[in-house]
């Protein structure tokens, strides 16, 4: 099942994504993340992909869209722990995933 668990630690917010991220699920994840981001205006939003089993370009759109939102609030987005299969998709968009 696709879901996101969001934790806050001071000015840092981490969104633990899991399951399949396609256009259908990206829309649902986006709403859940943006609601929390708008409420807390975090300095850093970390998107953790370690539990993601499938992702198409809608996942790239999800990252870029959060990047825009967070930038407009004065923060940054960090992408981390993408499994190998998802790294291929990220590299097409020249997005780096940290360990």
């Amino acid at each position: 099942m696709t879901q996101v668990i969001i934790c806050e630690d001071g000015e840092n917010m981490t969104a633990m994504l899991s399951g399949e991220i396609d256009h259908h699920w990206a829309a649902i994840l986006r709403e859940q993340i943006d609601e929390r981001v708008r409420a807390a205006s975090p300095k850093t939003l970390t998107l953790d992909f370690s539990g993601v089993t499938f992702m198409d370009s809608s996942g790239i759109g999800l990252i870029l869209g959060r990047h825009r939102l967070i930038n407009s609030l004065g923060g940054i987005v960090v992408v981390q722990k993408a499994p190998r299969e998802i790294q291929r998709m990220l590299s097409l968009a020249e997005i780096e995933s940290k360990e």
Partner: protein, 142 residues
């Protein structure tokens, strides 16, 4: 050229069907002895093509999407994703990486992904009539 085996399925352009479409194609492809990486590539490419029908071809309506998967000699898999939606004015431009008419939440990478994850892609489209994307991949570890 006649396929060894073929299936066709049609479904309405509701986003909840994206997962079904890519899984159905992957289940059919399993007979060609694909590697896990090849299966993942196929699922991703199908997801891109089907999503384009849903978000672009039938932007403000619900229409039918037809997926045909065929298995040919020499372990060749061919997938056709067809819609009767708005069509594409300029296919060459649409296929450029980062080109999108989809707004803020789209990366414009769908065609680039299909090109890089499959061996061959062909797009034919008529404005007002619809679009047909053909994806080809040789399977098996040999």
């Amino acid at each position: 050229m006649k396929p060894i085996n073929t299936v066709k399925f049609t479904f309405p352009s509701r986003s909840v069907n994206e997962g079904f479409a890519r899984s159905a194609v992957a289940a059919f492809a399993a007979q060609a002895d694909p590697t896990l990486d090849q299966l993942a590539d196929i699922k991703t490419a199908v997801s891109e093509a089907v999503t384009n029908c849903i978000v672009h071809a039938y932007r403000d309506t619900i229409g039918l999407i037809a997926v045909t998967v065929s298995f040919y000699e020499e372990n060749e898999l061919r997938i056709i994703v067809a819609d009767k939606g708005c069509g594409i004015e300029d296919v060459q431009q649409a296929m450029q990486p980062l080109f999108t008419t989809g707004g803020e939440e789209r990366a414009g990478l769908g065609f680039a992904v299909m090109e890089s994850f499959m061996d061959q892609i062909k797009v034919s489209s008529k404005p007002g009539r619809g679009t047909r994307v053909t994806l080809v991949k040789k399977l098996g570890s040999r």
